[in-house]
Symmetry: C2
């Protein structure tokens, strides 16, 4: 890792990764954070592995110019399809992904060994979650479901009422029938639909929100290395490849203007 | 225009523009067609004008390498936000957009002078349709509504049943209350939801499908210039910036394998 006052870099396909920024900032407020949201090319979850790898490589090159200590991949699609590719291409930096901490957490909390994961079509088709959980504990039965409309619902802010409820029901009914007790929200957008999802699956199924899990992992990593200083709270520096009025509304849902710095970058 | 055996170039943000390719190919089957669908960066309709202009410029540069006779902008978002920009940057080529023929058609068929247009957030926010119709006929009352979930619904193939019906109802109820008699489907994806839309608005409201209107405009243009030769039917050459399994399914919905050539291009 580079020196102690270097920032933590975080990236995602769009706005969803701000949930991860928020959690990490809450746990380690004195650390500088650089974020890149690829809003000009979002969504990634319906694209091919080749295209996703190309975008992730470009973003990593951009983030490395800030000499970060680590790079957090806040996107489940990139974590599922491009983690090994990024590690191989950039051996000089430590990548923290969102898939492995969520998978581990699911193993720790399931009681009946029946776990499901929901995510974008690309994440689910990659089989990454399914294989990882099977490797960590072969006894676990793992089910999965792609939910392609959840990202556009969140981006439109349509997160209450009949429409998201019916869509959630369409995607999740099959999983309830499998008698799962743990459900991994395998996309950074999904925690925003947590209430609807919990209503559809019922209170007995535990939901895993990757943003919380990965923030704890990052904090522990810095604690181990004795690299947390309790300095003044820092403002996250947020880069986006596109900024529309709707984007501004979502950013302000997370922080007010005085608490962050927002910039546009063309990749 | 360049020489007679040069192709017609057509582009769109993704798969939707294939409706325009199909209509033009039907009317002028002996003309070569080059298509570019920017599936790696779709959707455009939620992005900013700057980003959309940059993508449209890159695509035009690519299409010009085929020395086309004309370039058809099959995307309403690009037609609304970047047509003047493209004309200024590429004065050597004739651009045909989808907005102006649809606007003209709406004026010809409305009986009560109350017209509405639906489209992506970027198309509707641009005010292009609204201003053009007002200029062509100031007596017409024009209403509009952005329908951001229609594109993801079509891309998921969720085009029948309760969910698209409820979503269409949410977007269109306000327009029915305005007593319109004509509705412009201002996005190349929307004709695929025609049945649902017609069901929601009722049989008395006429829907305008831009793909049909623009194909007639292109055919007439070639007829005027005496440039239609009734040669052997040509296979459309389709380029995409990304090709997934879902994309292949949609392409095959339009033509079977022997009727077209599909290629991937990185822009």
């Amino acid at each position: 890792m580079s020196k102690n006052d270097s920032p933590i870099a975080i990236f995602d396909s769009g706005m969803g990764g701000l949930t991860v920024v928020k959690e990490i900032h809450k746990l380690i407020p004195g650390k500088d954070i650089i974020y890149l949201g690829d809003t000009a090319r979002v969504p990634y979850g319906t694209k091919s592995s080749d295209v996703i790898k190309g975008y992730a490589k470009q973003i990593t090159q951009f983030l490395l110019t800030f000499n970060p200590q680590i790079i957090v991949i806040a996107c489940h699609t990139v974590s599922s399809l491009a983690l090994n590719f990024l590690k191989k291409n950039f051996p000089q930096i430590l990548f923290i992904d969102v898939v492995s901490p969520s998978a581990k957490k699911s193993i720790n909390i399931t009681q009946n060994y029946r776990v499901a994961v929901i995510g974008t079509p690309a994440t689910i088709a990659s089989g990454k979650y399914q294989n990882l959980i099977k490797t960590l504990n072969p006894k676990i039965k793992i089910f999965s479901q792609a939910c392609p409309l959840f990202v556009p619902l969140v981006e439109e802010g349509l997160i209450t009422g009949d429409i998201p409820y019916l869509i959630a029901k369409k995607y999740l009914s099959g999983l309830i029938d499998k008698r799962i007790d743990t459900l991994i929200l395998g996309c950074t957008h999904y925690p925003i639909l947590k209430n609807i999802i919990q209503k559809v699956v019922g209170e007995d199924i535990k939901l895993i929100d990757a943003s919380e899990v990965v923030a704890i992992k990052v904090k522990n990593l810095f604690k181990e290395k004795n690299m947390i200083e309790y300095r003044k709270e820092k403002k996250p520096l947020l880069y986006f490849t596109d900024i529309t009025k709707d984007h501004k509304k979502i950013i302000n849902f997370f922080w007010n203007d005085s608490k962050m710095i927002v910039r546009r970058i063309i990749l």
